[in-house]
């Protein structure tokens, strides 16, 4: 596997990464957004989005991928995702009956993207938390991989 000290010369992997990264991102985001309509959801979509980090690492090496996705920001974003989830879950207490209760679900036609109330937002929050969290973990492990001392 390529090391962060070695310049990337493998054009096949690089062009494959260029090609597949957008597909992975779009597919992952699609799965997150359609969590309430189709199989999958926040967690699964988030992991697929995080796979973009792997692709960029394979194509461009550690340095490029860690400067593209800044680990510190990813770490904070994960906490923000978790806070967003608890916020939308607490809305259930304020507006209806219970924690995690879906509220505002009477909007739109069933089957549409915006038709499900806060469950959609909770799903998006989970997706955000997972994509940042898993992305951060991947970067962390690749960082250790390049580190000869560890």
């Amino acid at each position: 596997m390529s090391n962060k000290n070695i310049k990337v010369k493998d054009y096949i992997i690089k062009s494959a990464a260029d090609f597949f990264t957008p597909i992975g991102l779009v597919l992952g985001l699609y799965i997150i957004l359609h969590g309430h309509l189709s199989p999958g959801g926040g967690f699964q979509g988030g992991v697929i989005v995080a796979s973009a980090v792997v692709l960029i690492y394979l194509g461009y090496g550690y340095e490029k991928s860690s400067s593209t996705f800044k680990p510190n920001i990813l770490k904070k974003s994960e906490a923000i995702g978790a806070l967003m989830y608890t916020f939308f879950a607490l809305l259930g207490i304020f507006y209806a009956a219970n924690f995690c209760r879906n509220v505002f679900f009477n909007i739109g036609n069933p089957g549409d993207l915006f038709s499900s109330g806060t469950i959609f937002l909770m799903n998006a929050a989970v997706g955000y938390k997972v994509l940042t969290g898993v992305g951060f973990l991947i970067l962390l492990m690749f960082g250790l991989l390049g580190n000869k001392e560890a």
């Binding site: 904070k76 906490a79 923000i80 806070l83 608890t86 219970n98 924690f99």
Partner: protein, 631 residues
């Protein structure tokens, strides 16, 4: 509002953890404020449940997202707080607040404090979630969060190699435990297609097959690994020793207690209709072995916190024995001891932390004479030591007495005798600690140590006062805390009825609504106030004799000064010229039982492979036992 209290007390800690993760590491003031607010809110929410649940005897149920059971089938995740859950919740949330308060100054010199508090709050929140949930898989998830947070906190001082090593051991053994719990959960789910504890209790009522018994055995072993019952305890001393003291306190105070709660919940609620007396021998035997091996290992230790860790194992043995007796009195004693153990062991760990904060070491060979420099810590330590050894006006005596009485009444007289001996040995080893850390000569390098700051003393004093209160008014504590909890343990029909509805419960239980009355009388003459007065008189007399005998607290005596009082003495035959230091007060005992101690040292090899093997062997033995005897 009342119905939301369980989720609020859990989620406030989780929100605190996520907010702390956002704050910059340098911003200490803001972070401490948020940690304090989050833990305190959780404590307040738990206190607010006291009135409806314990005083009025209700059980709170809470269905996440209003997913209530349909046609007697629980689909959603439910929280259910009964008297037992709340009893555990009360002292757990209290020790979380105290530990947070203590941490602020205690870890001020460390780096990575932001991570510390995130993990701290995650661990606390997961324990609260574990206690309040009514869902088998939720219990697994929470115990997993708890394990991983505690592993990371064990390795918090990662500049010390032993901390990283202990973290590795903990993650290996802890994961085996979690895997067993997960396997059991999966088996039960495959059998009954539900995870709700109340529904499972109904479905399992007099409906045991080989596979559910298998799940029971796995579950018990899994939680025993989390409790650190004896053949699985090897990780505990390592982990407790290297973790920061505020965390060691939580390990023994809340992580262990959560697993005790798990065992109680599984045996007395989910598997309530099995022949409990077949379980009795296993748990009593296991608890007795745990308390004995824990205390003998503690006698041989030279490190303050490692010694406390072995005592923690030993005291958990008492709790296991108490709850394993399956009588009302035994459960009362076990629960009382669980509460007391949280108080006095937390107190002692905080004392060890104070000593570490002041001197930078917890090695008993290096310490000495700290009573002159740290009088309050010494006083608090003595209160904790008296409590844990069961000296009359303190709380440890009451709970141990109930356990002695219960084990004797249940026909386990040998257990009573062993429990008494273990109590004596506990006192002996704390005399050793007091003698080598707080009394004797002060080494020169500790000439300038100072008493720990106020914010560290406040939690210690609160726990010390609670220790005394628990010993002086045992009947009040029993009436308003322990008996309702013990009642809830004995009356699992009500748990099922409230969670799943009367219709569902009446399919299985014929005696709905009738709780067994717990009525008992403490054996022997027992007057706490008289004991307190006697204790005060003895203390006064002791002080008087000491002062008249020329004791001068102002005069310091350092280790390298000539003082006949502290002369080295020589004794024994082959060990003729051995120097007997304060931390080796019981070398004679160790010499007499050298074969036993050699064997013990060989077992505690420090190799994680051996430890994992012992967990697997335990699982095998428990499986054999459960398949043979449990019906």
């Amino acid at each position: 509002m009342t119905q939301h209290l369980p989720i609020l007390s859990i989620i406030s800690l989780f929100i605190g953890a996520f907010i702390v993760a956002l704050i910059k590491e340098k911003n200490e003031m803001l972070r401490n404020t948020i940690v304090l607010i989050a833990t305190f809110l959780s404590f307040v929410f738990t206190i607010m449940m006291y009135r409806p649940i314990i005083l009025e005897g209700n059980i709170l149920t809470y269905w996440m997202g209003n997913w209530e059971p349909i046609k007697d089938w629980a689909i959603g995740i439910g929280l259910e707080v009964d008297q037992l859950s709340l009893f555990f919740g009360l002292f757990i949330s209290l020790s979380i607040v105290l530990s947070a308060l203590y941490s602020f100054r205690y870890i001020e010199r460390e780096t990575g404090k932001d991570k510390y508090y995130v993990l701290f709050l995650m661990m606390s929140a997961s324990v609260m979630g574990f206690i309040f949930t009514g869902d088998l898989f939720n219990m697994y998830v929470m115990i997993e969060i708890m394990t991983f947070a505690s592993v990371a906190l064990t390795a918090f001082r990662n500049d010390r190699p032993e901390a990283v090593e202990a973290g590795f051991k903990y993650i290996a053994i802890g994961s085996i435990g979690s895997s067993l719990i997960l396997l059991a959960t999966v088996i039960i789910y495959a059998q009954f297609h539900t995870l709700n504890l109340a529904q499972l209790a109904g479905e399992l009522y007099n409906n045991y097959t080989a596979i559910t018994i298998f799940a029971l055995a796995l579950m018990i072993v899994g939680y025993a690994v989390k409790v650190f019952a004896v053949p699985t305890h090897f990780v505990a001393p390592d982990a407790y020793m290297v973790a920061p003291s505020s965390i060691s306190m939580l390990f023994s105070g809340i992580v262990n207690k959560a697993a005790v709660y798990g065992i109680l919940r599984i045996i007395y609620v989910v598997y309530q209709s099995m022949n409990l007396s077949s379980m009795q021998f296993l748990l009593v035997f296991w608890g007795t072995v745990t308390m004995f091996i824990g205390v003998t290992m503690a006698l041989a230790q030279h490190d303050f916190k490692r010694l406390l860790a072995f005592h923690s194992i030993s005291q958990i043995g008492y709790v296991l024995t108490g709850i394993g007796l399956t009588t009302a009195l035994g459960i009362t004693g076990g629960l009382y001891h669980a509460l007391n153990h949280t108080l006095f062991k937390g107190l002692l760990f905080l004392c060890a932390g104070a000593v570490f904060y002041a001197t930078g070491t917890t090695d008993l060979d290096k310490l000495g004479g700290l009573a002159k420099r740290m009088p309050q810590t010494t006083l608090i330590f003595l209160i904790g030591a008296f409590s844990i050894s069961g000296i009359p006006p303190f709380n440890g005596f009451v709970s141990k007495w109930i356990i002695y009485q219960a084990s004797y009444e249940a026909g386990y007289a040998p257990v009573t005798i062993i429990a008494l001996i273990v109590s004596v040995m506990t006192l002996a080893s704390f005399i050793k600690v007091a003698q080598s850390a707080f009394f004797g000569q002060l080494p020169k390098e500790f000439k300038n140590v100072e008493e720990v700051p106020l914010s560290m003393r406040i939690p210690m004093w609160i726990m010390a006062i609670l220790c005394i209160v628990g010993g002086i008014v045992p009947s009040t504590v029993t009436k308003y805390l322990i008996t309702p909890a013990a009642n809830a343990v004995m009356n699992s029909a009500k748990y099922v009825e409230v969670m799943m509805g009367k219709e569902f419960a009446s399919k299985f239980y014929s005696n709905l609504g009738s709780a067994p009355v717990i009525d008992y009388k403490l054996a022997g003459y027992w007057q706490p106030i008289a004991w307190l007065i006697l204790f005060g008189i003895l203390l006064l007399a002791f002080t008087l004799v000491a002062v008249l005998g020329g004791f001068n607290p102002k005069k310091f005596s350092y280790a390298d000064e000539e003082d006949a009082k502290y002369d080295v003495f020589f004794s024994g035959e082959s060990a003729e010229f051995s120097h007997v230091g304060g931390s080796d007060l019981f070398w004679g005992l160790k010499y007499q039982f050298r074969h036993y101690f050699d064997f013990m040292h060989k077992i505690h090899s420090g190799l994680v492979n051996d430890y994992a093997l012992s967990v697997v062997l335990t699982a095998a033995v428990i499986l054999l036992y459960v398949f043979t005897f449990v019906r």
